[in-house]
Symmetry: C2
Subunit: 487 residues, 2 copies
């Protein structure tokens, strides 16, 4: 007989029932080959005495083994390991945390490697980020109030059931009104898909529009996650110069005469990373070209709500666009990065196809959150919050730019951004940003090292300096640390 | 001069400021070609008199037009439409809701058509569903309590910031403990990705494992959304027979000798649609084959928590599997369909790649919800809820099966399912399910028409009848209606 006293050791303090522990220990003995098919298990009386537990517990464990298909009971003979189990070689379970390259594990060819460097997600350290909102301003109490009101209502339970993969109808209507009031954009709910943040809009558009080796035009500098999403869809990126008026549409036009371009991706307010706004003249010209060459414009306008100096420009989607514009926006970016709500608008048939694809990706969004956001749009909370944060961010932009100008005139070149949450800062070529970031970290300041903004055709010695998430005293402190490093 | 009095009509009751209305009306006149580049706008005095608004409002509107790049002011001459705007032809804006086939809109080749028929998502009508949980049992008050406790804490604000695309570390640890306690599955947080429901696990696994024209083995009957997800990745489906012990692994073995198979998709507890449980013998044999032929097993165990007659079988992932198993589970399916939380476990490198891909899809999950679920796992609420619902669903299964047996012996053939939330019901061939569903709807009962369960090789005259979301009186009522139709 096997040395069961040492093999079957139970833990009386565990929350797992004793008979389950015994059962699981037997399963380990079977799967590691210690017990082989047709082996006899000790009688319940014997085992109970050996390991000092109640005989009924052993019986329960055996019943469990039998019901799970590991063992069989043969009358008047006892309990045996199931004779028809495949014979397993005697090997130990691999350590689960040393599993990076198991020798005989499955082969996977699409070993997707993300080219997107990770950015600081630490919660505590003083940080000059990429241009994130200040979550201390997020009206979380108002959101909780809406959550409570939904959960207390009888009909609220319905929002826990499966819903449309296009998103809550209530929120789609609220977004229609919001787009109409803020952007003069006239769409119906059937033209809207509620996404998990603007990233999902980019992903869905890329998957629907692009086939392997299709061309998509993007800025010479561009939002890296968008570039990667288009590459993931198999597309080739054609880089178009960006100047102070946004994408160079004449350059694009020349290219269109030579190549078939499936889509053009733009961030009209305010280009990422360089924060420039696309001029109205270029917007109209791009629309003309889209009509002539029949390409789609993916208009990523996640930054529309943060425009300080005048009313923001009309989106391309608000102008006569002949259904050529897929318009992507974000509530997440305004409200709180972790509460993932964005939207995509486009021709109804396109939105329908996107909803079908989305059903395979994650079925649908979080209906309770969608309803709560819809209520906040309805009762004006969202609007009040947008106004309030816009005012605060404008002050912070002005303060931050003032400090940059007075203290870093020799090291950093920048233009005051018309909007957005970050300043595009071109550093003196003598400053090594990687070293700067490392030095700053030692002094308690996280700042990007600029790698995130580079690509195969863009290598400026610059980075986005986010001001929105910093209160005045934090700006002062952060820039003081930076100053000690690069002056 | 143009007839501005009729062209510029403002709405004094609108929430949109008057000057923005005037500005937007001028933009429409420009984009539809009524006003051409270099056209002179009426003086502010003239327009103010014509349309009966304050002259300063007109001035503000013109300033807005200028700042948005539509117009330019020439000193002592007036305000003109920007001369450098591209000339637009005079066309009306298309009606946004008649946009299914705009004549010159962009071309999109991946016109993804979902083959998944939509199921009833109506909230009110009496429904025999596919096997959904009863959201009336969802402990929404406890969830709200956790939400409040998070939102009241100072550190709670941190959960509003960007977080890991693998999901909250706290929830990953909680799921580790839960998997260990319930399934003897030993994984570390680095082996876990928190998904938006099990569907996202299937999608990520498909995208990472399958290249176009790769083979994946699936059941001859199978969960349609999984089939579609594999097809969307370009894979060929190889259909394997399913019997009372689950997938026929001998059949699979014979196939493996002829074809390279990249992955095998199984739903071991309880196969969808037919609810059979895969025997332990077959589980072990499948693991052996995976090691020999180096394919991945995608183990979709969304139904593990609903097993009534004994403890559920050990997942393949809990047995020595040589890192060949990608294990997918759902909290959503247990808790509430609209609160999207699931998980995927696998080798750390695979999980890392899945997290990178996920970053392009939707960046990350909803951290606040993830934290709240983690707290509910920690304080035992989740466990209490699982036990409570399991007990109720077992009673409902027994009741429902009793009713089916006594009232539909001649029309419906079924086996009492060992677990899950639905009974696979094979209807008499004489009963036309499409007609039955249509007749039922007229009498106030929604029941599936069976199309969802069919595929190119499976055409049983059957459907899943979900019992879990029905209270006793609802079952009685629903089956009474059904009886009047098919007896």
């Amino acid at each position: 007989m096997l040395p069961y006293k040492s093999l079957i050791q139970v833990d009386r303090h565990s929350s797992v029932a004793l008979y389950i522990q015994v059962c699981n220990l037997f399963i380990s003995l079977i799967t590691d080959g210690t017990l082989q098919p047709s082996d006899l298990l000790p009688s319940s009386r014997t085992l109970a005495e050996l390991i000092g537990i109640n005989r009924n517990t052993v019986k329960l464990a055996y019943e469990e083994l039998i019901s799970q298909g590991w063992a069989e009971s043969i009358e008047r003979k006892g309990v045996f390991v199931l004779s028809s189990l495949p014979i397993l070689s005697k090997t130990k379970l691999p350590e689960t945390h040393k599993d990076n390259a198991p020798q005989e594990a499955f082969l996977w060819t699409n070993n997707f490697k993300n080219a997107v460097p990770s950015k600081n997600l630490q919660k505590t350290i003083l940080t000059i980020d990429d241009g994130f909102p200040d979550v201390r301003l997020t009206p979380i109490d108002q959101l909780m109030r809406e959550y409570r009101s939904i959960s207390r209502k009888f009909y609220g339970k319905n929002f826990l059931k499966y819903g449309s993969s296009k998103g809550s109808e209530h929120l789609r209507i609220a977004i229609c009104n919001y787009l109409s009031n803020t952007r003069g954009l006239a769409v119906s709910p059937e033209n809207i898909l509620i996404t998990k943040g603007s990233q999902m809009g980019i992903y869905l558009a890329a998957q629907l529009l692009l086939l392997p080796s299709d061309h998509i035009a993007v800025g010479i500098s561009n939002y890296l996650c968008a570039d990667e999403t288009f590459r993931q869809a198999g597309a080739n990126l054609l880089r178009i110069p960006i100047d102070d008026n946004g994408m160079d549409i004449d350059y694009l036009e020349a290219l269109l005469q030579r190549k078939t371009i499936k889509a053009v991706y733009i961030i009209p307010h305010h280009h990422c990373p360089t924060t420039v706004t696309m001029s109205m003249e270029r917007r109209l010209k791009l629309l003309k070209l889209a009509k002539e060459y029949r390409f789609a414009i993916i208009e990523d306008d996640y930054d529309f709500d943060f425009h300080y100096d005048n009313k923001p420009y009309l989106p391309l989607a608000s102008i006569d666009h002949n259904q050529n514009v897929i318009y992507i926006g974000s509530v997440t970016k305004t409200f709180a990065p972790a509460l993932r709500i964005g939207f995509m608008t486009g021709p109804a048939a396109f939105v329908e196809a996107a909803a079908s694809l989305r059903e395979l990706i994650d079925r649908q969004g979080d209906t309770v959150l969608e309803e709560a956001f819809a209520l906040m749009f309805d009762n004006g909370e969202m609007d009040r919050y947008f106004r309030k944060s816009l005012k605060i961010y404008k002050q912070r932009r002005d303060m931050f730019c003032e400090m940059l100008k007075s203290d870093f005139a020799d090291q950093i070149e920048f233009k005051i951004p018309e909007g957005g949450l970050a300043v595009w800062s071109a550093f003196d070529q003598k400053i090594n940003l990687i070293k700067m970031a490392a030095d700053a970290l030692k002094k308690g300041l996280y700042i990007d090292d600029g790698i995130f903004y580079k690509n195969e055709s863009f290598s400026a010695n610059g980075l986005r300096m986010g001001f929105a998430s910093l209160e005045e005293h934090e700006m002062v402190e952060a820039l003081k640390i930076l100053k000690t490093i690069i002056s």
